[in-house]
Amino acid sequence: MMKSFDRTEVTLLLCIPVLIGLGFILPQWIVNYIQVSLGTGLVAISVMTQMRSGLVSFGQGLFFCIGGYTAGMAGKFLGISDLFLLLFLGALAGLAISFLLGFLLRRYREIFYAMLTLAVSMILFGLLSSTEELGSTDGFNLASPTYLGWSPEGEMARYALYIATCIPALLCALLLHRYLRSPMGFVGEAIRENELRVEYLGTSAHKSVHITYVLAATVSAIGGVLWALALGHVDPEMTNWTTSGQFVFISILSGTGNIISPLFGTFILEIIRVYAVEISPNTWQLMIGSIMLLTIIFLPKGLWSLIQPSSSVVRTTLKKSTKDSKETSS
């Protein structure tokens, strides 16, 4: 059973009961941060997944927002409050919209990809900011979710939502990790390195980029649903490019070495932000910017490279597979 999962996957699976357990032990405010950062963390890992293919999305907030607003609108206009249905609808919206946009974006790489994802996310920003039915720039509030007809109250509602956030979030992370190890994940790395060769080896780089884009978008939308439910509120800032920029920041800081590091990075950053903003409200961006510059200059592969020197999927997989064969032989 364990053999079909690698170390990262086992860690992610173990994290589910551990996080749920911590939910009962840790003070409420930390649990809240865990919950919120699992939502944004999913967006960060989807930015990282694209970075593996050499694609920097400066507009991932688009799908974060689509997820959140879909859940909000389903509650507001259709009276849907079931968490599973909301997650499904959010993911479906992200998937459908990214599938269509993918036909435009898959043609672009490098700075064009960065800037066009940004521009597309700003279309939604403009649209939502001027839609009064959806609260314009203020956004609107979401009701507490229900679970297959069960509607818990008070403390119970909090725990239920926390558990219902942990499980899909970590499963999404596991899914993206598997994707990066799959043939498609390898093709992604190859595209980052040399797209011409990829085409000459006999596969479509456009298709691979499209699939990566859709997958990242779907996971981001799920992150958006979870985040919106955790805060009980959505607003157009979710798709402002400055929000997307923070996801890029987290990915740069954590590096593309492992799917867990952006998740963890998001949480740490969330905590630091609270204090930093309290102590000195006008230097938060200054700090982020400086850390980012220092990371780019001194740690080009992110903090993860301090833990594990090689950041390529291929190499981590290789290490894993040689370890596996040793285990089976002993």
Partner: protein, 276 residues
């Protein structure tokens, strides 16, 4: 022997520049054929057209009797036509083994599988075995950026052969390698490719290599074919001597091999001796 590839009146222009015109070539299964011509004679343009990187301005390309012009590079690769590059096209920040693994994964057509691990022991073994055919398995764990040009060329060619093509184009397989290493490298290549009965078209500037390895030669000059036939005949052809070989000698005299390429190729040589 079956005709694999046939081009009919192939032409390619870039604006007012005619890069290739009236190209008629037939390549048979398992055949080995050398292509000569000075820089800008249309050799690479020809390969780029046949492999779908450039679309011809006019003319036809038939593979096993079916038209393939206008098809995408990846689809032409799937049909069984591969190529290597004058400047190796590799995944620079990955190791030689990783380069081969990616090539194998794509060649096996597993790319659409989304959530299953791609690499296993047997795939690794296969990659190493392919590398050993070209005598470069000792470099398996080195990153491409650390390798000398000669080894990069061999990796480039090894990657082009993973899908076991029926027809392989080698674009100057021995450029950047010193004169006496060229023979050795070609020997390794041709031996490795004979095993799979791959038809090989190689572009080469060194007439000695051409004479040694290909029974047939096509000479390009200013975008057209000047001569096509048995090697001895073509190399004796007066026009070829005047326009192609003459300029080749001239070219070689202009650019003596630098000392760095010598040391690089010396390294390959030692590996080759171990591998073959």
């Amino acid at each position: 022997m079956t005709v694999l590839l046939e081009t009919r009146n192939l032409e390619r222009t870039f604006g007012a520049v005619v890069a290739a015109s009236n190209i008629n070539i037939q390549i048979k299964a398992g055949e080995i054929l050398g292509v000569i011509g000075s820089n800008g004679a249309g050799k690479t343009t020809f390969v780029n057209m046949v492999t779908g990187y450039l679309s011809p301005s006019s003319g036809e390309i038939l593979y096993r009797g079916n038209p393939i012009h206008g098809k995408a590079t990846r689809d032409i690769t799937k049909l069984g036509i591969c190529r290597s590059f004058q400047i190796p096209q590799l995944f620079l920040e990955l190791s030689v083994l990783e380069n081969m693994l990616i090539a194998l994964i794509i060649a096996k057509g597993n790319a659409p599988v989304l959530f299953a691990p791609a690499v296993n022991d047997s795939l690794e073994e296969e990659a190493l075995r392919l590398l050993s055919r070209f005598g470069i398995e000792d470099y398996a764990n080195q990153e491409i950026t650390t390798l000398p040009q000669g080894v990069r060329k061999l990796v480039d060619i090894a990657m082009a052969t993973v899908s076991e093509p029926e027809l392989l184009f080698l674009d100057e397989p021995t450029s950047g390698v010193s004169a006496h290493e060229k023979l050795e490298i070609m020997q390794v290549l041709i031996t490795a490719l004979k095993v799979t009965n791959t038809a090989v078209l190689f572009i080469e500037h060194d007439m000695e290599i051409v004479e040694a390895f290909s029974p047939r030669v096509v000479a390009f000059y200013e975008g057209t074919i000047l001569a096509d036939g048995p090697t001895a005949e073509v190399l004796q052809n007066s026009k070829v001597r005047e326009f192609v070989i003459g300029s080749e000698f001239h070219r070689k005299g202009d650019a003596p091999p630098s000392s760095t390429t010598e040391t690089n190729s010396a390294k390959i040589g030692s590996v080759l001796e171990g591998g073959v």
